[in-house]
Every structure is written in structure tokens, then in C-alpha cells.
Amino acid sequence: MQSARSLHRWVSYGAILPGLLLAVTGVALSLMPLNEAVSTGSLTPAADVSVADVASAIARDVPGVERIAKSANHTITADFFHADTFGSVVFDPATGNISPKPEPTGMWGTLKSLHRSLFLGDIGRGVTGLTALSMLFLSVTGVWIIVSRMGGWRALISPPATRGWKLVHFQAIRIALAGLAITSLSGVVMSLSSFSLLPSTNTPEPLFPDLSGAQMIAIAQMEALQSTPLSQFRELIFPFDGDPTEPFMLATNSGVAFVDPATGQITAFEPKSLWGHLYELVYLLHTGQGAWWIGLLMGLSICAAPVAVASGVALVLTRPKSPLSGIKIAPASRAKDVILVGSEGGTTWIFAAELARKLTEAGRAVHVAAINDMRENYPKADNLFFFAATYGQGEAPESAHQFDKVFAKFERKDIAVSVLGFGDRSYPEFCGFAQYISAQAKRAGFECLDELTLIDRQSLQAFAAWGAQIGEKLGISLTLAPRLATTAPTHLTLLRNTRLGEEVGAPVSILRFEIPNKGFAKFGAGDLLGILPPGSDVPRFYSLASSTKDGFLEICVRRQEGGLCSTHLTQLVPGARIKAFIKPNPQFRPARNSNPMILIGAGAGIGPLMGFLRGSKGVKPAHLFWGGRSEQSDFLYQGELKTCVETGQLTQLSTAFSRDQSPAYVQTRLKEQSSEVARLISEGAEILICGGVNMAQDVARTLDEILMPNGTSVAQLKSQKRYLEDVY
């Protein structure tokens, strides 16, 4: 993987300039077949006539005709030699019109030879051939990288969970890949063939026949030509100057034949080789000659290649500066604390840098490095921290691919190890790689500084809590508040605070804020609102129940016992201001199709689900399962949900209350309606779940039971991105 990536990168540096040139000229040339088809009228299919009809018409009107040929684009040209001059005309089989052959316009020829040989003759042809080979290599390794990074082939077609330049880059690559793979493979074949490095694709002449030498019969009478329809026709060569010892040579889609002019019969035939047929397909795919729409499709696909390159460059340029800058990193030989980082997207480095900064400020010598760069020894170190993200199916991220190798070589055992895992609970192997490191460290007999800690979706609260605990162990006070790249916080003004649930001990508020100004980030339901509570640097995240289109920001907040931010928020009165910012959360969002959605939530978890309902406008049939404590006390959005049911925007509403007459939970309702749920899922429904971890686990277990008879499972739905969770 590592080597495939660096190879991919180096090959792309080498191929970028000629590659772009080939792509741009290729896209321009992709219009050529259409241009020819339009200008010669061959957009309409050739008339249903025989070669005998065409050839006799031309022979009558064009003195000295020696050759008739049909181009891949179905243009019929006739070459003649008459009165000591050569010439060519174009014949229209539909009308019988003969017109002078249009001069090939300079632009196409120039483009073509630029594309083929960069105006550099054989050297240029070699360069373009190698470039095509590089493009082919990049397409294959590119697919491989995407697949292994995202953990499956599905990644190639499922919507990517990214935004901005990364999304542009990824989408452009996906669009360009098809065209690039096909044109580069065919380009390599054509290049090899032009250097005669592949067997000849031409059908050789059949063995020369013995001819009767008798008087030639009329062309219209020749049976071989009568029985060949124009659609099969390629080329007809006349006996030069009426030479009676020469036959007609007739090339068709299937081979080359000699025709005796005296009998009009085929006297010898050489079929086209399989390789010849194959090469024609290759040529068709590469040039679109003969099927202008193939040319256009390829051109469109490859249009995306320069976009991919440009967005790739933009990605590199907009990459944030190293999170380690400004921190005094100690050399490996002197460090007391060593932080080893396994990261792919870079956020884990920000957490590591925060720990390094705070430890350094406390006067300790700290070294930070990628796991891949782990030394065989850190002679002065007391503590070894592994900060590890997880990718693929519980696999190591990019900067930790060498973990097994480097870890096995490590010499000291008298060092305390702490493993902090970064992951996302919605993946089946939550923090799989950190768990692996922890198990390996235990197996190797290392002392553990603390138990393995897992951080879900870069939770700053969980990280701060871990830091406090580590600080205690090290005898220092550690306040960890990393600054993840976010938009700067803005002041929001509260419009409305709907307070519910107080009577049943589950205080929860629906908070609606004003969108401050036009420049405020665009957001959708399911994105997160990061709120900085007074007296803390660590933001808390709340799932948005509205989108920019709704014209307000809305969240549902459950007041936590002793909770800093939630207590503050649920007590706000209209007009109060808070500091907040948007954090995109594109992986939690319904697919843009008309498949049904099953929305499942409890308590404040209804927030984003309500947002999805508002956004779908009835396009997606929606089934909502929601659980609260008491219908009388904490039924969030009661009125709006009833209206949605009446208008049909919500197909079905199932509520469960745990403190009412017949106590029930959401999973109770799912079980009661298991056949309906199973049916919806078999029809392609997607499931979106929001709320607490426990509820999510119970729901997953129940759904697994419901799905088992159908031979599917939650894990499978997750891998199809049809089971999305936002749990906290």
C-alpha cells in the first residue's frame, strides 16, 4: 500500500505535463468524429444500398476512378487518376451527389499530430506512448488506493463523505477514471502497434488468383459487389487503368477478397484475424471514429481529468500548516515523553500536538513522530503514547502501516505505554487499530500507563477527560483543548426556547437561533453546531434540526446532570447570545433518492431527524420511530409531527413512552412492526439513527433480529451506507 502510493505519486509527477496535454488535446479531438459526421451528413445511417450500386454510380460519374473507400465515420470517398492528375471526391449514397473532397481543416490535423507525437516525430510518439502507459498505471493504482483506503469496492460508486476540494477531487477522479482507463489502455495498444511492437493488424492480401483475363463485365452486374451491403463495405480497389490482368480488391468488415473482373465472382478471400477485429474495437474506443457519441462520452469523462489535477493542487496548497509548528520538539534521544502518531487525515496530529504543547509547557521534553518512524530505542523516555486513528476495516492509517515492523524492533520493555484510539462508532471496527496496538503492547509485556481509551469522532470532551486523568498520573495539571480546524465562532441570538420534560426528569429544550448574516456558513440538517459554553475552551456539538433553507438554526438539547453547556443552553431566554460555529457532518444525511427512510431516535435525538423530514418535502416516504418518557411531558415536536402525518410528509409515526401506562421503547415498536420494517429495508430503505449510545445499541440488536431471516444484517447495511448513526 505504502509503496503503491509513493509510486502513484511519483509517476503522477512525471506524467502530469504530457498527461494534461494529452487530456486537453484528446478532449478537443473527441469532437472530431461528430464534426465529420455533421459536415459530411453521415450522422444519418448509410442508405440501404449495395457496393455494386455505389461503385457503378461512381464509375459512371468519375472517370479514372481507382479506389472507393468508406471511412470509419461512413464518409465515402473516391480517388481517381485522370488526365495525368490525381484527385478525390466525396460521394453521398443517399442522393448520389458527388462533391469535391473538403480540404482537411488545418486545426484538426495540427491537434492530431500534437496529440500523437507532440510535433516531435518518433521521439514524441514514444513520449505519448509512455504517457499513456503512465496514465494506465495511475488509473489502476488510483483505483487500488481508493478501494484499500475506503475498505471496499463499493467506495468507487457510493457517495463520498467529504466536502470542498476533497469532494471535487474525488468526484473528478471518479468521472475521469472510466475515460482515462479506456483511452490510456487503448492508447498504449495503438502506440505499441505504431512502433510495430504488436502483430500487424492488417489483413494480408489473399493469394493472387488466376484470372481468366477475359473482357470485364459491368460493375453493376458483379455478383460479389451486389451481395455486399454498403454497411459491410470498407474499400474497393479497381484494376489500375483497366489493367485486364488485375482483379478488383474488395475489403469488407470481415476480410479482404479478390474479385475477377470477367466473372464478378470472388476468387480468393482472406478473413480478418481476431486480432484485427480486436484492434478495430481498440481504435473505435480511443478515437470515437465511427461512433461519434463514444468520442463525446470519452471526451466528457476526460474533461474531469484537468479538474482532478487542479483540485489536487488546491488540496496541497490549502493543506493547513503543520499542527506541530511553534512547539519545541525534543530530539528522540533526550525525550521523556514520546508521542507516536497513526493518522491519515491529519486530525490525530492536532491532538498529539496539543498534548506535546501542554507537556512541554509543563517543562517536560517531548518528542513527536509518526508510528512508521518509531526508533529502535528512546533511551531517556518514561512514557510512550500511541495516538492512533483507524481506517478501512479496522486497519492502520497511512502513517502507521509499518507498525508491526517497527514495533517488533523496539528494544526497551521498561517504558510505560498509553494507547489513545481515534475512531468513529458508526464503523463496525470501532478504533480497531488502536485496540490492536494495545493488545500487541500487552502481549509484548509493556507496562500500561492507563487503560486503552477510545475517542469517538474526535470528541474534545473525551480527550480533555483523558488528559485530566493522564495529568494526574504524571503529577501535573493537564488541560487539553486542541483547536480543530473550524470556522471562527460567531455570535448567535436565541429566538425561542421551547422547554419540555421537566416533570419527568428529562429536561430538554428546542432552541431556535437566528442565522446571523449572509456570510454565515451554509448548513444542512444533521450538520453539527459547535457551541462554546462560557468558561470552557472545549466546544460541545449539537446536531442541527434545520438547514439554511429553513431560515433558522435549531437544535434539541437535553440537560445533563451537572452538564456545563447543556445546563447553560436549556436556561437561555430569547435574545441571549452564544458563541458557535458550524461543523459539517456529511456522513449523516439521507441519500438523494426517493427510497424510503426509517428515522429512529430517542429524546433530543429527534433533532436531525426532524430536520430531514423538513428537508425531504415528502419526496422520500418517511417512517419515524421515536421514544420519550411521557406523552404529556416531553413529546418533542408533537404538533409539527401531527401536521406532517396529516399532509403525508410523514408516512408513519410510531412513538414509545417509557414512563406512561404501557411503558415501551423504540425497539419495542420496531419489533411490533418487524414485517413492515423488513419489507421497507428489502425495498431499499435507509435507516438514520440519532440519540444515545445505549439506545443505538438496543436498536441495532433488534434490527439484526428482524433482518436475520432475510439474510442481511446491520453490518451489511452499514457497509452499503444505508445505516447511518449519529450517537453520543
Binding site: 481507382e66 480517388d79 487518376f81 495525368d84 490525381f86 510495430s196 489500375f240 488485375e246
Partner: protein, 154 residues
């Protein structure tokens, strides 16, 4: 232009096989081209028996082997005689070019009606096999067709 010289190994081998007395002549063939349309022309100058079987290749103008198949009479005749159409190549030829080449041939083959033939091919125009056919011992100069104006043998 420097005359091209060619000693035919095939000639020697055939002569031996047929046990023909090795009485031979060295002849010069001069091929004059007229106007060549468009790009440069490929030209094959070769010796055949009266039926067109290639006996010897004197000169081929045009170096890219993949275009040689368009010199149809030559390729065809070589197939008949099962000799490889080994090419004695030079640059492809433009308008007004005069190609001079020497070859050696046994007297008895001249008497048997062996011929010097010229094939031409020009990109985008018809190939002309037998653009000129000169029967040795009978003609010393013939008119050609297409781009070949004239062929002479001394």
C-alpha cells in the same frame, strides 16, 4: 544521386539450383517519377519471371515496413516465389525523383522473358501494382502509369 548497387544472393542460389551457366550481366534501371500527390511515395523496383513471381528486389523507396504491404505486386510476387521480400530501402520519393539502381542477372533469364516491374503507393491514393512493366531483352524503355513517368534499363 549515387547509384545503388546490389549483388543478388538469391540470383546465385537460384542459378545454382537450376544449374544454369553463370553468364551474367550488370544492368542499370532508371525510374523517373512524375508529380506525386500529397506526401512522398513508396516505390518498389524488382525483377520477376513472366508470371510475376519475384526473382530479385532491386530497390524499395520508403523505410517504414508497415507501409510496404501497399506495394502490392511486389508483396504478392514475393509470396508466390516464397522469397522474403527483403527490402533494399532508401528514402521515400517526391515529385520528379529519378531513382537509379544496378542489378545483376543471368543471360538465360533475360532470354526467358524476365521483367523489371515497378509498384507505387501514395498515402490516401490507390496503390498501383505494376505501375511499369519492362520485359528484359525486349524493351529498354517503357511508359509508366500513375506517378511513374518512365522506366529505362541499360
Amino acid at each position: 544521386m549515387k547509384p545503388l548497387t546490389k549483388t543478388s544472393l538469391v540470383a546465385g542460389a537460384l542459378a545454382l539450383a537450376m544449374a544454369v551457366p553463370a553468364q551474367a550481366k550488370t544492368l542499370t534501371v532508371i525510374t523517373s517519377l512524375g508529380a506525386v500527390p500529397g506526401p512522398r511515395a513508396y516505390v518498389a523496383i524488382y525483377v520477376t519471371d513472366p508470371k510475376g513471381k519475384v526473382y530479385d528486389t532491386i530497390h524499395v523507396a520508403g523505410r517504414e515496413a508497415k507501409y510496404h504491404q501497399h506495394l502490392r505486386g511486389w508483396v504478392r510476387g514475393a509470396r508466390k516465389s516464397r522469397t522474403k521480400p527483403h527490402s533494399v530501402t532508401g528514402a521515400s520519393a517526391g515529385s520528379g525523383k529519378v531513382l537509379k539502381a544496378q542489378f545483376e542477372i543471368a543471360d538465360n533469364l533475360i532470354a526467358a522473358g524476365y521483367q523489371v516491374r515497378v509498384d507505387t503507393a501514395v498515402e490516401n491514393f490507390a496503390d498501383v501494382p505494376k505501375a511499369a512493366v519492362l520485359t528484359l531483352g525486349k524493351d529498354t524503355s517503357v511508359r509508366g502509369r500513375g506517378i511513374v513517368r518512365k522506366v529505362e534499363v541499360h
